[in-house]
Symmetry: C2
């Protein structure tokens, strides 16, 4: 079956009525002149819709969350926004009351530029923790960004670059789909690199959440007409299948944010919330599918561009006793330092995988476990272990299976029917080297 | 106050009536000739008491546990043993029924040499996972080890070397204390290096255990007269304060084992179990203190000799709402890849620590947290953060505080009165390099 959507250029400005820009205002400089992104990339992004939008968002479940996260949660709950202002180089986290004042100031400066209500501006930050924002720089940057807004591919790319920190490349995508007679577009930009194990939730820490870390930001735009509750529901489903299923280093950031704006300029009959209505609307299903695809591709691009990452591994657990067990088993394997280093070495080490399964919170019976490898998405699995016993697969065959830059790791617990998957990366010397910090540069202090 | 014990040479053979040996029988060779320890160190250790002993033990809580662990659990429960046979190079884990037969065979071969009941022999293994033991080598090794038994410091050192895997040095210690008129000695050897985050328990997986991994083995001997239940109680307390409070990489092994033998040759009035009796016996308190010291020093030596470790950090959490919260907060920080790499870089990065605290299962209020550093055991803390706000400590001062090879990290949550500590290590490029495996050498497959 043909996918009901296809890629188009322009990411966040592909949908009608959205403008974007990325400017440089030297937020990392800190007065020392060190660590500046000058000449390298912009560090302040602005996204603006010509008309007010439905808004939805998901935020880090880390108890220590940044000022912009605290600012956005109630605004997103109101369901209406029109602009997103975001900076890299400074996370505005652990900055106390000054941090809240600065986040508000970012929103106010942006609102003043466009003469829109201050609560129609959403704010996000990523970078160093614990250092106040250089607000004169930020304000100047916002004014410049408002002046530079445009709707070309280059404008969107500048915005995507502006939110990058240790990312090596901008991450952006847009898709187009048909909702009945109407052509609808969805676009997004995101950033990731280190501290990647998001646990995103709509508002507060979910009960018994036990999730781990990364600064990832993702901003999505669409010209679909969709009310805020329906957009929030769709975003939650898409994030559950994408950003909440990736891990680079098992650390969860204080700043993780996913925001979505829908301005309705496509003119489709509005998609509305309410379980029954949503399920009976084929247009909603199509929109959801396109949004899922967009989020998944952006999420995967974060893992692939993780700090020092050389291998992208999809850990697929099947046959777990419960969904929670499947998830726990997949995350234990995906976050084991020993398993991740063996991926880096191209070593098909099932002993370490068994060890990680054994200490996970999932029920595991050693004599039931199957472990195997395949090409991404393929069902042709080379099993290295069946029912806890090594198969006839040779060491050389197994090495070949884990040699590519991307492969799937299949784990069958054979105890039940639940399954889960996690997109994971290897652990490399480059990651350690990158994160050990640069002491000649206090600007590298952050998370 | 003077400690009621002092160090003596000889480790496991320091107590009366214990003999030890370490021999080479090439268990890593695997027929390929690669990965052999030939000429480097022995790989089979034997510890033997001239008279039957009270026995106690604690084992990995990993659901995937090795054959020797399965063999020892019921034997230790019977409370009587006389010999310990242990090998490195092969973990005898994930080896199915053959593995159980081989572990039994190791016990039987040892029992036959000494003409003692087979259930008086305890067995331990460490090394590669999933490969059957080369039993002809093992049997020959056991006979040779039985023939080579001795009670000199050199014999104990050979045994300590024989259980090493990626350890760079043997770990051993003995202490002497006075129980009334009687001189009692306690000795121990251990090994660690990678996969270090033990979660040890007397028998089965404790309810709601959520612990993480390393192969660590520790064998303790004493000539104190103490019944098996009292020895088990004392061992549990000592391990709770030592081996269960260390982490190198957050991975928990399939083979973690701590065994203790007490042969009573010191002639003291036997220490007996029963809560009331134990508390009223000052001799028991002295014995416990000596055992605690022995286990703690051995446990710390494991962290210091962890794979690629350059920094030994004691993470001290105070002011948590509950003991579980304190433990969760300390472990989240001690196992965060970002925090551990910052230690490696000598970077006093409190942002990453706050991030890890925030995603831990512990209750944390950003505006209450204090973070500081001190020399090991010192109360002179240089605070970098007070109530969530940076102090006047300069970046240079903080760098100096985290520059030494050993320091304490103090975290006050200021929400309650519970505290916890974890002995942790940094994450270095050497760790990654070591664990990425050596593909020219299938013998490096193990955990």
């Amino acid at each position: 079956m043909k996918a009901p959507f296809h890629a188009v250029p322009g990411s966040i400005v592909a949908p009608q009525g959205f403008l974007a820009s990325g400017v440089f205002c030297d937020l990392k400089r800190l007065g020392t002149g060190k660590g500046s992104d000058r000449g390298r990339k912009p560090d302040l992004a602005l996204i603006y819709s010509e008309v007010p939008c439905s808004a939805a968002g998901l935020f880090t479940t880390n108890q220590v969350c940044a000022a912009p996260v605290k600012l956005c949660i109630p605004r997103v709950a109101r369901g209406c926004a029109r602009a997103i202002v975001a900076n890299s180089g400074n996370a505005n986290a652990c900055t106390g009351r000054q941090g809240m004042r600065d986040a508000l100031d970012m929103a106010a400066t942006t609102a003043a530029e466009f003469k829109i209500p201050i609560h129609h501006v959403l704010v996000a930050s990523t970078g160093r923790i614990g250092i106040p924002l250089p607000m004169p720089h930020v304000r100047r940057g916002i004014r410049q960004a408002a002046f530079s807004l445009g709707s070309t591919v280059a404008d969107a790319t500048l915005a995507a670059q502006a939110i990058m920190t240790s990312d090596t490349r901008p991450k952006q995508l847009a898709v187009e789909c048909r909702l009945g007679r109407h052509t609808v577009r969805l676009g997004g930009i995101c950033k990731g690199a280190g501290m990647i194990h998001p646990g995103l939730s709509a508002s507060a820490r979910p009960p018994a959440a036990r999730m781990l870390h990364a600064t990832m930001l993702c901003f999505l735009t669409t010209d679909a007409a969709i009310d805020a509750r329906a957009l929030q529901a769709a975003l939650q489903e898409a994030v559950a299948r994408s950003f909440n299923r990736i891990t680079v280093d098992g650390d969860m950031s204080t700043n993780d944010t996913v925001l979505a704006l829908a301005n309705g300029l496509a003119g489709n009959p509005p998609l509305k919330a309410g379980w029954n209505i949503m399920r009976r609307q084929p247009e909603f299903a199509t929109f959801q599918e396109a949004l899922n695809h967009l989020c998944l591709e952006l999420a995967k691009s974060i893992v692939r561009d993780g700090e020092g990452v050389t291998r992208f591994v999809t850990v697929r657990v099947q046959g777990a006793r419960s969904a929670a067990d499947a998830d726990a088993a997949a995350r234990a394997v995906a976050n084991s330092a020993l398993v991740k280093t063996s991926w880096f070495g191209g070593d098909p080490n099932w002993g370490r995988i068994m060890g990680a399964l054994g200490y996970s919170a999932a029920s595991v019976a050693e004599t039931r476990v199957d472990i195997g490898y395949s090409a991404p998405g393929s069902r042709q699995v080379l099993w290295s272990l069946k029912r806890g016993q090594p198969t006839t697969a040779t060491f050389k065959q197994l090495c070949q299976a884990v040699a590519p830059g991307e492969f799937d790791l299949h784990i069958r617990l054979n105890l039940g029917r639940a399954s889960a998957y996690i997109y994971a990366a290897d652990l490399t010397e480059t990651y350690v080297d990158f994160n050990k910090g640069d002491l000649s540069n206090p600007a590298a202090l952050g998370g």
